[in-house]
Symmetry: C2
Subunit: 335 residues, 2 copies
């Protein structure tokens, strides 16, 4: 699979706030950028055709459409909707991975349903009972891979241990870090900190063949004091959203303050190159695409608000994971 | 007690990274600012005397010293050190509250020991089994009171319910919000989100006589979409530190980028008024002083890195809480 010239990625064209238009645009952009990928857009074929006709390019020959007349809504119950909406775009896109028609799937839809679909439709890797969503977070010194950011709510020590193993492989093989520093999120750096689950996970992780660097606190994440940070999905979700909120708030505060003052406006002109550099550094869209690890296939969740650049980025992550055989790497690490 | 002209606050002069010098300076500053407070500095009397002699002011008459020849270190075990170091500055300062010699106590020392001391030395309010540390967080639209930020690790639903009641009173009586919007931190805003403990707490809080506004997500905290946000101490601690880390990282990144470019330096001159306004808005020191709620006395924790302005601010919080009878208000709310 790793050496194949042509990959096939299925994409849930109806998932997310800007579906299907931005999803289709992202798929077209990916075909323009990479000549080795084929994409199947799954969803309302009329709407999808219209989007593609608006953006006619020679690469369209590598885009195909599979019709689906249902869609999973953002507020649908994750497991129930995945079980009952059998003709939904998300489920059909996932079934293409199970059947081998596609090597990976991307969706910007309901997160819970993506996780449920990964488990129910595609299946878990042996020994994994909870998959994890991982995000490469831009920080001051490096890109830190944080997992789980919301596949599960809470978890047991063994799950945190699996997250550490999977995060380590992802960091090595996909993000290219030779010997990733792996750490466990806690409420203090001393060994007596952490709750029972975290303390038990520390025991397991510190004995594994990992470059384990101990507990990490919230403020240290920001400085990128680790390559991989492991935590439960409740905490990871709150941190990720808090961080996104701060970045977007900083943007709106600067705009507001600027509106009230004349001098800053003058200053702003001079500062534009710096602000562009900062934005490039912290732009989450660039890193877009959250892999669902622990599933027997490549599943990438894109942000619900994704526009075409974020979809392109999620497709890029999927392509990368497929080409590098990420799932097989994780499978063999877990054995 | 609320109408007394002269309050007495005891302060652990040996707690924190900058003790005793900055603690003494903060105490002197508080006496200068408020003519109704007396302060007892507890710690190594030689060192304290020296600090005070370096800053001779007429207000010194309202400062007294109680000698303590032990101190609780930052890495001491919280409960053990509080039980065993009976002559430590922190314990003696707390005993002054228990005996009624002081109406409140401030320490910038070991957080766990402050919580243990509150419980062991001063005692909990009836019906409270876990006290909570609360922090007024500066956000885009308002000051949000977040609790617990680290008094406990995890907790049961009843504890989260108590935090909601205590946070509501603190927000009303101390922060002056008429009808505080109280919310519960979760991994999504829909009712099906949250783990079992959070879901059970939601049931209890939504039935209480509170202006409960539902689950709040990480990104909404930043915008100040609630006056009171309730969560367990593990999560609260991680969020608080992550936020502090981001503020300090933003500062260092701007400096770094500025060093590399000439134009931004020119722009910076124009932007200084705006940056000052931003800093005033988000400067944690201004809000300094974290009340330990649920204890039968006023206990204020200051940040371990506190310099004199943060100590002044913690003393101000203690004074405010004493004068407004905050502890009595919470006691009657819990009954």
């Amino acid at each position: 699979m790793n050496n194949m010239k042509n990959l096939m990625i299925s994409i849930d064209a109806m998932g997310g706030d800007n579906a299907p238009h931005e999803i289709c645009k992202g798929a077209i952009a990916a075909c323009k950028e990479y000549d080795d990928i084929n994409i199947t857009l799954v969803g309302d074929s009329e709407q999808i055709k219209k989007c593609i006709e608006e953006n006619p390019i020679s690469e369209n020959s590598r885009i195909s459409i599979v019709h689906a007349d249902e869609r999973i809504e953002m507020d649908d119950h994750p497991t129930l909707s995945m079980r009952k909406k059998r003709r939904s775009s998300m489920r059909i896109a996932m079934e293409m991975v199970r059947s081998g028609e596609a090597q990976g799937v991307v969706s910007a839809g309901n997160t819970g349903a993506i996780v449920a679909g990964g488990v129910i439709v595609i299946g878990r890797l042996p020994s994994i009972d909870r998959p994890a969503l991982g995000v490469p977070l831009p920080t001051v010194n490096r890109c830190t891979f944080l997992l789980d950011v919301g596949a599960s709510v809470h978890c047991r020590a063994i799950n945190l241990y699996h997250y550490a193993l999977m995060g380590n492989i992802y960091s090595q093989k996909i993000l290219g870090i030779e010997k990733p520093m792996v750490s466990l999120l806690s409420n203090g750096s001393e060994e007596i900190k952490g709750d029972e689950v975290v303390a038990e996970a520390r025991e397991m992780i510190s004995k594994a063949n990992l470059n384990y660097t101990g507990y990490i606190e919230g403020n240290e994440i920001v400085y990128g004091n680790a390559d991989v940070v492991v935590c439960d999905g409740f905490m990871g979700n709150v941190i990720l959203k808090f961080g996104e909120g701060l970045v977007s708030a900083a943007h709106s505060i600067i705009k507001e303050e600027m509106g009230q003052r004349f001098l800053p406006k003058v200053g702003m002109v001079f500062m534009i190159p710096m602000l562009k550099a900062l934005w490039n550094r912290f732009n989450y869209e660039k890193y877009g695409g959250t892999p669902l690890l622990g599933i027997d296939g490549v599943v990438i969740k894109a942000h619900g608000r994704s526009k075409s650049p974020a979809i392109l980025s999620a497709l890029k992550t999927a392509r990368n994971l497929i080409k590098k055989g990420g799932v097989e790497q994780i499978r063999s690490e877990l054995e």
